[in-house]
């Protein structure tokens, strides 16, 4: 706000204006958790792109560096990161499908959105397990 448009009195008045209800006012419902998780997983995947690029660069660089990077991803710490990355990807994918349904004004009722929120959590857990199971089997 520029100083020319706010006199001392309007500054005073602004302080007393009511605020619209915010997050802390509402009871936490499953849909809100799924919603913030979609954002958190999106941001996690954003930084996870560094790992994807790192792996590709290692593969392009040659056997020695590739083995080093593979060693990192194969370590316990590396596998924990990959497990989290897999879950984030699956949760964000299902969350995205939810958004597509809502964009089409489908499945947006109070009851349905709660069910969808649970479905995203159960679905993302199941898909993560499935992907890791297949990864273990093909190894």
């Amino acid at each position: 706000m520029s100083s020319t448009s706010s006199s001392a009195t309007s500054g005073q008045a602004r302080k007393e204006r009511p605020l619209s209800p915010h997050l802390s006012i509402y009871k936490l419902i499953p849909n809100m958790i799924a919603s913030i998780m979609h954002r958190i997983t999106g941001v996690a995947l954003y930084f996870g792109t560094v790992l994807v690029a790192w792996w590709l660069i290692a593969a392009a660089a040659g056997p020695a560096y590739f083995d080093y990077v593979n060693g990192f991803f194969g370590s316990l710490f590396g596998m924990l990161i990959l497990l989290g990355y897999t879950w984030a990807l699956m949760h964000h994918l299902l969350g995205g499908l939810r958004h597509f349904a809502w964009d089409a004004s489908k499945l947006i009722s109070k009851q349905m959105s709660t069910k969808l929120a649970y479905a995203t959590f159960i679905g993302s857990g199941a898909l993560t397990l499935l992907v890791w199971l297949i990864a273990m089997l093909v190894r």
Binding site: T49, A53, P63, F100
Partner: protein, 126 residues
């Protein structure tokens, strides 16, 4: 000189002046991401535990290389759009906001170009 009336010039554009363009591109890239991310997971899972020669040979396949290029371009464009909204939602100081908006563009384009270079290097076989 345009013969549009002032109303016609702003109609449907909203306060950010680009209308629903950002939303549309977020959805478009999200839609593209669905099959691409499935393909990406498929590629990575099938390469689990393989040595360098196998991985390099896989990316030397033009089909795999092109799919992977699409994964990178679509995902990072989508991530750029998404992170922009997150920054605009939470960061309100002018300087910090613009610094982060610029950093977001540099980061996503930088990572994308690094990955694209690596894929092309393997795709063209070396």
């Amino acid at each position: 000189m345009s013969i549009k009336t002032p109303f016609k010039r702003v109609e449907g554009l909203g306060s950010a002046k680009d209308g629903t363009e950002h939303f549309w591109r977020q959805r478009l890239t999200a839609l593209a991401n669905v099959p691409l991310i499935i393909a990406f997971v498929w590629i990575v899972v099938s390469l689990n535990g393989e040595d360098h020669a196998t991985v390099a040979a896989t990316f030397a396949n033009p089909f795999v290389a092109v799919v992977m290029l699409l994964v990178i371009v679509s995902a990072l464009y989508h991530a750029k759009l998404g992170m922009q909204v997150v920054i605009e939602d939470y960061i309100h100081g002018e300087l910090a906001k613009y610094a982060l908006l610029v950093a977001n563009i540099f980061f996503t384009f930088g990572i994308a170009v690094l990955a694209v270079f690596a894929i092309l290097k393997m795709g063209f076989g070396s």
